[in-house]
Symmetry: C2
Subunit: 262 residues, 2 copies
Amino acid sequence: MLNGTTHHSTFRPAVQAPAIRTSARPMGVVHPGLSCSNCCLQGVCLPCGLPAADLGELDELTMVKRRTARGAALYRGGDRFDALYAVRSGAFKTVCVSRGGEEKITGFYLSGEVLGLDAISSERHGYHAVALEDSEVCVIPFTRLQELALRIPELQQQLFRLLSRDITRDQGLMLLLGNMTAEQRLAAFLLALSRRYKRLGYAADCFNLRMTREEIGNYLGLTLETVSRLLSRFQREGLIAAQQREIELKDFDALMEIVGHW
Amino acid sequence: MLNGTTHHSTFRPAVQAPAIRTSARPMGVVHPGLSCSNCCLQGVCLPCGLPAADLGELDELTMVKRRTARGAALYRGGDRFDALYAVRSGAFKTVCVSRGGEEKITGFYLSGEVLGLDAISSERHGYHAVALEDSEVCVIPFTRLQELALRIPELQQQLFRLLSRDITRDQGLMLLLGNMTAEQRLAAFLLALSRRYKRLGYAADCFNLRMTREEIGNYLGLTLETVSRLLSRFQREGLIAAQQREIELKDFDALMEIVGHW
DNA sequence: CGAGAGGTTGATCAGACTCAATTGCAGTGG
DNA sequence: CCACTGCAATTGAGTCTGATCAACCTCTCG
């Protein structure tokens, strides 16, 4: 019936894993000029669906921004949860680090996406959030957000939707990890990235991977070698053009064909 | 770095997959006697954390119960989402069925657990919810629940927590599917089940699997043969005793040792 | 220009899948 | 009551995908 299968579950030495620098946090900066009301990510981010009249209230909440340098952590597993973070620019990965030091990437986050939703229940972050490139986020204090959500029904609903969407997204990845071959996983990954860039208004067929082959492999449950081989093959077969992290999708149909009917 | 790996991603013929009967729905029945206020699952279900004073309001919302026969669907993928379901008795699986007819189980749900949270964002169910045994659920109309959550801050918070917990749970499964060997997956599965039964007040070391080997394998991204072989081996090695679906965990430490340090 | 990280490619190996046969159990009908 | 049917589970033999190990290439940046 099923196939998803794992091999040899030892990990390569943790030594190789890039150490996650704890940033001497460049603490939050208030940018009064930059608010939800005039943010170009309005339509895809937290305020999506809110009546214009209520945007002002959200502005007050999200005035604090924070910059995170490439490789630095926005927050770390174990940190107390007290705010959500909306990515303004840049990109993040969330990483689970086991006691043994092995890392597992549980998600990538692009602009307009909200980090930290999984920590609400336990009030502690379960994972590190590490910037893939120099990035900036809006800090959204959760207690105040909750209060606001009691007063603005559309905001409450939007929060439910965001949380629910995260569940759906994770379940998609579960299907991928549980059922698909390496080939299918990578094709699905590229198509999903394409969709997300398109949603942000970028080209759907030509984009820059923000992550290394190793990070892709880690996320997809594959080794970096397998990712590299597959990218080479996809290119040989004319499905994509790839040089370094620059990817062009040249044959969407073929890629979707590979993923199959999930 | 990583290992999770899939094989041969063809599926066994869909013919073998047990057809999901669309139940001639035994429509909702009102049981005025059975309400959250006097339900023994109070502490682990939706009302958890609510001030006693507010329980009455929830009672009104959850008066409608629904029975679902073993093998029948509580809801089906594509159905409009308009209610959450709290499992009162019995057990469910959620199943994603691809166009090709292959099934993938995305979760199991025991009493006190809430079904349907993933459908909030799209307003349609993405999966079938199928009863593993004759079961009963509380029907919780979502629109009314949302309204109530605006008036009862603790309820809003509890909903956020429930949604957030589902995200955490799924990410746990992602780790499992992406990184663990067959052996680790099964050990983790048994330990997780044990924890859930314990939470419900049942014995932690002796329980009845509600699902077949095939369903376990499907869920874990393994074949039923692998599950069977591993159960036999765990038994040979004295870690468990198993006959049919009756499982006794005899060596928790060894099982945890197998799972390792995730 | 050299060092090191990131990426590519090849050879070999092994864990889990596939296919197939067998056993056990539950429900059905004669 | 027992043979018959069918599903669930067990077990064995052979195969294959992707991991592992290892060498080499190629950028980038100090």
